[in-house]
């Protein structure tokens, strides 16, 4: 599969950037509004009182982190199938944002756990699975960092991304089995109605931010790849154009 050359020119990037920035601003406003709404209106929970407000950032972050990995998996699958560089760049951008979001989810989980159970880490099934997802993200990003050849890096990270995605449900299931067998308290049910609306609003706000970040990072990646292609094609043409001197 020949290397797809990049047809990106600066005007394409400029118009895209206009649209993306608007999305960023909207995301921030939505997030602020959603958080304000829940912090002000949500009733204290029966057993953990106001601590439940931490759920409004922790749970949406966790949902979107898994979603980010889903984007990595889909983009990786499409890259293996079509071989288009844009899918490779999309997977890389989604992985970067996803890893950060998973890290944040972990931190929030621990901040929530400390006052509730008195310890920073309790091997709670959801939190532990998120930790494993975090390491799968990190392995993906490290592989990309350690491989230089663009084609090899794209192909290898696509395969690693896919296998990682295959493992996410298995990890989640086995960690839950592992914990429920040993009957420790798990995080509260996050479905009772009074709670649900606030959660959905925040989840959507985080989703908007996720899309903005991935798109923005993706556009920068395409600009970088476009710059490399310009230089490479120029080097090719220059080499061929020059009068072939002695050996």
């Amino acid at each position: 599969m020949a290397v797809g050359t990049m047809d990106l020119t600066t005007d394409v990037a400029a118009s895209a950037r206009g649209r993306t920035n608007w999305l960023g601003v909207a995301g921030i406003l939505a997030l602020a509004a959603a958080q304000l709404f829940v912090v002000v209106t949500s009733p204290p929970d029966r057993d953990m009182g106001h601590l439940q407000k931490i759920m409004y950032v922790h749970v949406p972050a966790a949902w979107n982190a898994f979603l980010a990995y889903f984007v990595v998996a889909i983009a990786s699958l499409r890259y293996l199938w079509k071989g288009r560089q844009t899918d490779d760049l999309l997977a890389a951008s989604a992985a970067e944002v996803g890893a950060l979001l998973t890290g944040l989810t972990l931190a929030l989980g621990m901040i929530w756990g400390r006052p509730t159970w008195g310890v920073w880490w309790t091997w709670d099934p959801r939190l532990t699975s998120t930790a494993v997802l975090f390491f799968i993200f990190i392995a993906y990003l490290l592989l990309r960092a350690f491989v230089d050849d663009p084609e090899r890096r794209a192909q290898w990270s696509a395969v690693v991304g896919l296998l990682g995605a295959l493992n996410v449900p298995i990890v989640y299931m086995s960690v839950r089995w592992w914990r429920t067998l040993h009957q420790i308290q798990s995080s509260p049910s996050t479905v009772d109605p009074a709670y649900a609306w606030g959660l959905r609003a925040n989840a959507i706000a985080v989703l908007v931010m996720l899309i903005f970040c991935i798109r923005h990072r993706y556009e920068s990646a395409r600009l970088e790849r476009g710059a490399d292609d310009l230089v490479d094609r120029a080097a090719l043409a220059a080499g061929r154009g020059r009068e072939v001197t002695d050996g």
Binding site: M1, A2, D149, D228, V231, D232, G239, R240, V244, G247
Partner: protein, 222 residues
């Protein structure tokens, strides 16, 4: 045909045709892209752009058919140091799915029958190259791609290589031999092409880098 490694163009523009029954030399200094061109022709490497046509069919369509016909003697021996000479050839014959290969005959032909059961790790580079030639014979290719086959060879070695090249040519095949300068081949070359900074001389013009090695029956195009 072009090929890029990371950010460096190894091949900028190559158009080369080796016709059936022809023995072509490919000259050029180190770094001129000779080995890259040969590895692409042997389907060991994918070109960045351009195409390889072997015996009339583009390689992408049926790589296995192309690989069955092409014999590459790469710059690296491609042998297993911890295995003996015989075991290396047994392994090669199994990978080539040969029903009943005559390993001893091949070992004798390349002059390694005495060292058949010694580990390749103990071999000199000349002996390792002879074993690689032996593996090539097992494959009985119709197209020979040899990367500096005469290196670290004495007169006998050069003669062995040329014998093999001639038998392949007489059977209707062809050969592309990469070398530092044409005289080393002892007059076996029909013609020689010079490669400078990844460009064949004369360099092809325009984007159409399609190149043919052969018009008719047995040949490879790169």
């Amino acid at each position: 045909m072009t090929r890029r490694f990371g950010r460096r163009w190894a091949l900028r523009g190559v158009s080369l045709t080796v016709a059936s029954g022809e023995i072509v030399g490919l000259e050029g200094h180190n770094g001129s892209g000779k080995s890259t061109l040969l590895r692409i022709a042997a389907t060991a490497l994918r070109p960045t752009s351009g195409s390889v046509v072997i015996a009339g069919t583009p390689v992408q369509e049926d790589p296995d058919r192309a690989r069955a016909q092409v014999g590459l003697l790469s710059f690296q021996p491609g042998l297993y140091d911890d295995l003996t000479a015989r075991e290396n050839l047994v392994f090669a014959s199994r990978m080539l799915d040969l029903a009943s290969p005559d390993i001893n005959a091949v070992l004798e032909r390349v002059g390694l029958l005495a060292e058949a059961d010694e580990r390749v790790r103990t071999f000199s580079s000349g002996m390792q190259r002879r074993l690689s030639l032996g593996r090539l014979l097992l494959q009985s290719p119709r197209i020979l791609l040899l990367d500096e086959p005469y290196n670290s060879f004495d007169r006998q070695g050069v003669q062995l290589v040329n014998e093999i090249v001639l038998t392949v040519r007489d059977a209707g095949g062809c050969a592309l031999i990469v070398l530092h300068d044409r005289h080393v081949a002892g007059g076996i070359l029909d013609r020689a092409v010079r490669l400078r900074q990844g460009l064949t001389d004369p360099a092809p013009s325009g984007e159409g880098l399609e190149a043919r090695i052969v018009e008719d029956v047995a040949g490879a195009t790169v």
